[in-house]
């Protein structure tokens, strides 16, 4: 069974640019979660999507947004990139709310 897959694996952007990260959940999983793992800040919850709807949002500005498609894959969009957005962005999926979350290997985003 394939795990959570994320693309791209690495990305380099400059301040002010926009970026889109992609995630494919484990087959059969309907919930997708996004987390940011930044140096010194640990793992922080960003967004939760279930059945195409945004269910919960972490303490991040509105320039972080996303969506979930009918096939349950998801995109995370970050506008007006700032230096502090440099981090590993992790996607997780689960079979539903309050169920174990399984992570992909992330997208490493570097902002120059």
């Amino acid at each position: 069974e394939a795990g959570v897959t994320q693309s791209p694996t690495h990305l380099i952007k400059t301040r002010g640019q926009q970026v889109t990260l992609r995630c494919s959940p484990i087959s059969g999983h309907t919930s997708v979660y996004w987390y940011q793992q930044a140096l010194g800040l640990g793992l922080q919850f960003l967004l939760w999507y279930d059945e195409g709807e945004e269910r919960n949002r972490g303490n991040f500005p509105p320039r972080f947004s996303g969506r979930q498609f009918p096939n349950y894959s998801s995109e995370l969009n970050v506008n007006a990139l700032e230096l502090e957005d440099s981090a590993l962005y992790l996607c997780a999926s689960s079979i539903g709310a309050n169920q174990p979350q399984h992570f992909g290997d992330g997208t490493r985003l570097s902002i120059l």
Binding site: L43, Q44, W48, N56, L90, A97, N98, P100, F103, G104
Partner: protein
């Protein structure tokens, strides 16, 4: 109140020894407590998890001990092996918002 406090920050254990990582929480609404293992360049992998109606859960060499009244839980790794060298995160979540709150992580090094 949303925090999960984890200690120690780093830990060195001899091969064959017991590794112990401790976590504490404040929010009694948390109802799911997973532990994740992360190797460099990889996403966190779910190791073992417990719900508060159980005081202990064992899977192979990994055991979670849970003390609901003290709001503390811990991970014990028996017969620690060099391959266990990784960063371990304790975490907590609640059904109503489904976001995982992670501890800051413990870097475990097992000496061969």
């Amino acid at each position: 109140q949303q925090q999960v406090k984890q200690s120690p920050q780093s830990l060195i254990v001899q091969k064959g020894g017991i590794s112990i990582i401790n976590c504490a929480y404040e929010n009694t609404a948390f109802d799911y407590f997973p532990w994740y293992q992360q190797f460099p360049g990889k996403g966190p992998a779910l190791l073992i998890a417990i719900r508060p109606d159980v005081s202990e859960k064992k899977e192979g060499r990994f055991t979670i001990s849970f003390n609901k009244s003290a709001k503390q839980f811990s991970l014990h790794i028996m017969d620690s092996q060099p391959g266990d060298s990784a960063t371990y995160f304790c975490a907590a979540s609640m059904a109503r918002d489904d976001k995982i709150i992670f501890g800051k992580g413990t870097r475990l090094h097992i000496l061969p």
